[in-house]
């Protein structure tokens, strides 16, 4: 820090202010996934399994309270699967965007 040229202080302030701007489109930055394949697998897996599980339990709850067995489970499990696939697609798009960002910023530095 100390060795940096004091003349570029203005530049550093500008950069610091730039960094403070909200970047809602860059939300949900998860660099974990760009690091190793295991993290990637875990990410997709939990995303899918969690959505299907939630769908299943919602179905069971609906069946329990409205005596609609087995329709609640069948329908909500379908929605759960759809939500799971949606979750995986969202994660996938997010990861690709992150990787694109990373390579872009790496190019900037060169």
């Amino acid at each position: 820090m100390g060795e940096e040229n004091p003349d570029d202080l203005g530049e550093r302030i500008r950069r610091a202010q730039e960094a403070r701007k909200p970047q809602a489109d860059k939300a949900e930055e998860t660099p974990e996934t760009a690091v190793n394949a295991g993290g990637l697998a875990l990410r997709y897996g939990t995303e899918f399994a969690a959505n299907v599980t939630v769908g299943l339990f919602l179905g069971l709850i609906i069946d329990h309270f409205f005596n609609t067995e087995p329709w609640g489970v069948l329908i909500m499990l379908g929605f759960g699967l759809a939500a799971g696939i949606l979750g995986v697609i969202r994660a996938y798009n997010k990861i690709n965007a992150d990787i694109a960002d990373m390579t872009a910023s790496a190019d900037d530095r060169d």
Partner: protein
């Protein structure tokens, strides 16, 4: 647990043991102080002590421990600003505490023979429920019924909503689950792998001189995994905190 196996048993490290017992609170709850509780207290004490010390003797030109505190503050503040904007900073104390609690728990878990509290889904699940509870309560307080626009993104024909709303509700309810599962699974899997490779090395050495090359391979793998696990320990704390910011952002601005 047989003492002879305990040395190489990859699961033994996750065993919760009671340190002193507080049973039958209100007739049914077991609030015993366990090793998990002890390591959580240790983590909290460590973080609190570190930041208290870093803030206790401040100077304009910060010393090392003070810059550590400042870097920690800036890191979390930038993370919240980046995702949720200036408005999100009202949650700064929450996200800061969450991030450093998980980071401390993960890092303490990397010390050999230490207990990793975040490798238990009870702990990560409680943290995730806390996050989603705050999102729901604050979202409803701030936006009233407008919070439910979260489940109906605007600009679709009406019949799409029949499919979209249940799917969005399920996605929302799955959030705490993925949040808890991801931290828990990463820590659990990582620590089992570490123990397995280290255990292989020891068992192979004990089996005879012929196995020394394989033992060395296993040991090398253990060393490499150790480095990876340090990265994972930090990254999972970061991911937990940043996803918290994303969900809090939804509570602040549900319609978008």
């Amino acid at each position: 647990m047989f003492p002879t196996f305990a040395a190489t048993d990859p699961i033994a490290q996750f065993e919760v043991k009671r340190i002193f017992e507080i049973e039958n609170v209100l007739g049914r709850y077991d609030l015993s102080f366990t090793n998990a509780s002890a390591y959580m207290v240790l983590g909290v004490t460590f973080v609190a002590g570190l930041f208290w010390y870093s803030a206790s003797r401040t100077s304009l030109v910060p010393n090392r421990i003070q810059s550590l505190g400042e870097i920690g503050y800036e890191f979390v503040a930038d993370m919240i600003r980046g995702v949720a904007g200036e408005e999100g900073l009202r949650f700064f104390p929450f996200v800061f505490t969450l991030f450093f609690f998980i980071l401390a728990a993960n890092m303490i878990g990397m010390v050999p023979y230490a207990f990793t509290t975040t490798s238990h889904i009870v702990v990560t699940g409680a943290l995730a429920l806390l996050v989603i509870g705050i999102v729901i309560v604050y979202g409803l307080m701030k936006n009233g019924l407008g919070f439910f626009k979260l489940f109906a993104p605007s600009g679709a024909p009406w019949w799409i909503y029949l499919l979209l709303i249940p799917i969005e509700i399920i996605s929302f309810l799955a959030r705490p689950l993925t949040l808890a599962l991801r931290l828990f699974a990463n820590m659990l899997a990582g620590h089992i792998m570490l123990k397995l490779f280290a255990g292989f090395a020891v068992s192979l050495l004990g089996a005879g001189a012929v196995y020394i090359p394989i033992a060395a391979l296993s040991f090398g793998m253990g060393v490499a995994l150790n480095a990876l696990e340090f990265l994972v320990a930090f990254l999972q704390a970061y991911v937990f905190a940043i996803l918290t910011c994303v969900y809090l952002n939804d509570a602040l601005h549900p319609a978008h």
